[in-house]
């Protein structure tokens, strides 16, 4: 949504300019703008702009546990590409993101159910569905850890009712990623619902009336009016949800714990960054991972923007 407003109104960059303003308006406000900007610009420069440059420089350095680095050329890059561990973490993150994105179709259905006119208890339902999104991820992961426990977890107890023997979800590789994804889906659903609900309320009611006159039932209306009209919101939800899912850390860290034997097979890119940078203390290598995360997220987002005109309808 934000990106669209930007590209839709390039004139917005210049701001609304009254006609009687002098041609050379750029200096009119004198030093005042700089007073307004100074705190932010200093902060952004110190905590964001310079650090990203520094991180890039660090990728060429070999930095010991106590700081003080020496030039190492492309050694960190070579290490990244030669170690299957990083590739594995990229793959894990992509699988996790894919599972979380399965929540988007679910959210489309739920939000259109929640928006049926005259539905009672809608506020209560909405609260139930939004709650996981605002709750602290670390706290939530601890709860799921109890639910997923292989011996006495309530999930396996529930499965046992149907005669199923549930695995040790968190400590067996493979299952742990699925368990993590299910939790991530549950936790991200509220965000999709909020955006999609706002999108639904912008669909003009006469479209539904017209569809009804043409004899479309509720399902037909959903498929040929709701979903196509909702595609801009769906696009936003997919982009933001996948950017957030690529940042997987809190849920993983609190669900699995650092000493979990399945961690190597389950870890995300961000977890690997944290482990290399602050546990193993190889900050040069961690910097390469950070840059790699940046490139991968940028590529992924770029692809999404590229294919959007294949399925997103802008009216």
């Amino acid at each position: 949504m934000t990106a669209q407003t930007e590209s839709a109104s390039p004139a917005g960059v210049a701001g609304p300019a009254p006609a009687d303003r002098p041609r050379r308006a750029s200096a009119r406000d004198g030093f005042w703008p700089w007073l307004f900007l100074a705190p932010l610009l200093i902060g952004m420069g110190a905590f964001y702009l310079w650090p990203v440059v520094q991180t890039f420089i660090n990728t060429f350095m070999s930095i010991g546990p106590f700081g003080g680095g020496e030039f190492a050329g492309l050694a960190n890059y070579r290490k990244l590409l030669s170690e299957p561990e990083f590739l594995r973490s990229v793959l894990n993150t992509i699988i996790y993101t894919a599972i979380v994105l399965l929540g988007v179709p679910i959210a489309i259905v739920i939000s259109s159910l929640l928006n049926r006119p005259g539905l009672r208890f809608a506020t209560l339902y909405r609260m139930l569905f939004f709650m996981p999104y605002v709750a602290m991820p670390t706290a939530i992961a601890l709860v799921w850890r109890t639910i997923y426990n292989g011996d006495f977890g309530i999930l396996n107890t529930f499965l046992a009712v149907f005669g199923l023997d549930g695995p040790h979800w968190i400590s067996s590789p493979g299952y742990s990623l699925a368990a993590l994804g299910a939790m991530g889906l549950w936790s991200a659903l509220g965000f999709s619902l909020i955006i999609l609900t706002a999108g639904l309320q912008n669909i003009p009611a006469d479209l539904y009336e017209a569809a009804q006159l043409d004899g479309a039932g509720p399902w037909k209306q959903f498929i040929s009016v709701t979903v196509p009209m909702l595609t801009p919101s769906i696009f936003l939800v997919v982009v933001v949800t996948s950017i957030n899912a690529f940042q997987l850390f809190d849920l993983l860290f609190a669900l699995m714990g650092t000493s979990n034997p399945a961690m190597k097979e389950t870890q995300s890119m961000v977890f690997m960054f944290y482990e290399q940078g602050f546990i193993i203390n190889d900050k040069g290598y961690a910097s390469v991972i950070a840059i790699a995360i940046m490139v991968i997220v940028a590529l992924f987002t770029l692809i999404q923007f590229r294919v959007q005109n294949k399925w997103v309808n802008y009216v």
Binding site: G15, P16, V52, M136, T146, I147, F152, V240, G257
Partner: protein, 299 residues
Amino acid sequence: MSEHTAPSVLRHTARSARNRRRRQELGFFQRHPHIFVHAALITGGFVMAFPFLWQLIVSLSTQAEVTNVPPSLWPEVLRWENYALVFDRVPFLRQFGVSAVVTIITVVGQIVFCSMAGFAFARMHFWGRGIIFAGILSILMVPTQAFLIPQFEIVQSLGLMNTVWGIAAPGVFSAFGTFLMRQAFLALPGEIEEAARLDGASPWQMFWRVMLPLTKPSLSALTIITVLFAWNSLLWPLVVTTEASRMPLAVSLATMQGQHGTEYPMLMAAALMAMAPVLVVFIVLQRRVVEGLAHSGLK
């Protein structure tokens, strides 16, 4: 109206009988058009709410009740002492205070710095405005890990490790907040500005007295997003705090998982108390939170 007059009583009962018959002919599902919707939403809502419910149940059980196979679904006696136990295991009150102070610093800082800068970008003219704004926007595209190690080194060299200032420092400056506030100031009509200028308002008065109060929806959206971010985030505070009494709650919980990972009732009590403030605020201000998040379109 005429059908309610005296002679129509007979006709009236006949009609209501006919109505009743018609309603019966309509069938159960036509009379309750939302029955499937409710069934779906109740099932879904239960799945969404269950972890919270289970957390509450475990937090009031004994260790044995939780670790039995199968676990008991409801504690025999409600063990509120599990909550007291949290304060024995970790300096919970101090950590709660750290979380609260960090959240306040971050919110106040973002509101002040981002709205000032947003105002300048939207309403003032100066050299390099477009370039500088584009530079700030480009930061939005960079994931936090790319800043984190140098940020850590800055905080360390300033001696701010294990302080609320160190935890709050990077979060006080936000590219997203600046973008949001710039949009808000851009949307205000130019006449207000002209009128205030004719009245001889200085740029500061124009910002503080005239324009800022008009951006309330965006300010409340920014506040909500920042509270969620500051209260819940883990990675940065995990890196800059090492002492238990200086940690915010998220770090404390993650650490507790490692140290007291099997004391499930105590852990659930701690997790519940850690997320309670944000959840309570959300439930009370639900409409505004949802509007705020939808308004911004981003976390």
